[in-house]
């Protein structure tokens, strides 16, 4: 099966997990964003084109389950997947620590952009409190999840590509 189709199926499974288990069991009230993690991990592994495609599809799926079609998640996740994709080919893929570091940074940027781009949040939110209580803890959670997902996807699809690029 085409690798992109498998990635889309993985994104759908991610969405199902996000709206059920990951939202029900929230240790210390922290909620991750598994779609963001998947987009970042896939883009690091497969490059900017796939990163962009998965960013668009993941963002759309998430927006649909927030009651809007093309909305904030599509707008932020698509360029985020695209930009992260440029990492591919510049790092040693067998280095598992790469994914959590990039995911942590991408998560902080993503959450900050969601606040800045939504009119409901930009003026009403307490930035310092949100950063301390929500954004950083969720980004750490995302980073931990990304390590697990990176190892699984790398072992499944990219095991032979051990060195820089393809």
């Amino acid at each position: 099966m085409n690798r992109n189709i498998i990635f889309v199926l993985i994104l759908i499974i991610g969405l199902v997990l996000q709206v059920t288990i990951l939202s029900l069991y929230t240790p210390w009230d922290i909620k991750p964003d598994i779609i963001l993690v998947l987009v970042v991990v896939i883009s690091i592994l497969d490059g900017p084109k796939t990163g962009l495609l998965m960013g668009i599809i993941g963002g759309l799926l998430q927006d649909i389950f927030l009651g809007e079609f093309i909305s904030i998640n599509t707008i932020i996740k698509a360029p985020l997947g695209f930009v992260n994709g440029f990492m591919e080919g510049h790092f040693f893929k067998g280095n598992y620590l790469l994914a959590p570091v990039i995911t942590f940074g991408a998560s902080i940027i993503y959450y900050m952009l969601t606040i800045v781009l939504s009119e409901e949040l930009i003026f009403s939110i307490n930035y310092w409190e949100s950063l301390k209580n929500t954004i950083i803890p969720s980004s750490i959670y995302n980073a931990v999840l990304s390590l697990i997902i990176y190892i699984i996807l790398y072992r499944l699809f990219y095991y032979g590509e051990n060195y820089y690029g393809r």
Partner: protein, 274 residues
Amino acid sequence: MDNKGRLIFIAIMIVLLALVGTLYFFNINISYFQYIESGIYNLISPIIEFFSGIYHETVSYWHGLLNVDEVMEKNKKLEKELASLKLQNIMLKGFQRENERLRKLLSFKEHVPFETIGGTVIGFSPSLWENKLIINRGSNDGVRKKMPVISYNGALVGRIDYVGSSSSQISLIYDPEFVVGGIVQRNESRTIGIVKGQLNNDTINIMEKISWDADIKKGDIIVTSGFSNNYPKGLPIGRVQEINSDNYGLSQSADIKLFSSINTVEEVLVITDF
């Protein structure tokens, strides 16, 4: 990809993103997109319902298996409670008949209870900032946008925000975008205000625009005022926890402890005939 190809690809992507951004920021709705949206939503929501069903079944099975003693004890307690409630119910039926008779004598309008549909919670919002629930009732069951949603104990939970064919999304009462008119239930007060959700706080809403000399005190029950056409009158919202001075003393605001504990809600009722 060579350099030229890469540049063209990036340019196309920037143009596409600018288009999508324009659609979002100027709130442009394209009807063709709505078909795709509802198509994808209706395709995925049954998977969520199926998965959520398996998850809840497994959790309750293991919970029952691991806590047999507790479950049996609770069962005994509930049986006793049921017996006393049955007795109470018989008495209340008598009162109801009397009430109806007296209402007719005084030519009062007959009190009609709301028509409701029960729904099971199958999922939650996939976003960090928006508070939503997904239930397994949709347009096929008669659910429409903006219908009020209550918990089984009658407290306001939220309103329907998006409707699919067999599932719908509820915007929750503690979402920062949620606004409802509230009134103090005490007969001698009837103070009004606007109840709003707060970001990152799922137990306390804030009631604003209360006049500076209003009769409101700690412990008062706040119910929906029914002044807007969106919610019926008298749905319980919460209890006043703290009163603060607002707008440099020109008005007051109150912290309202919500009755409905959303995180533990598993089933809700949608009011359909309002």
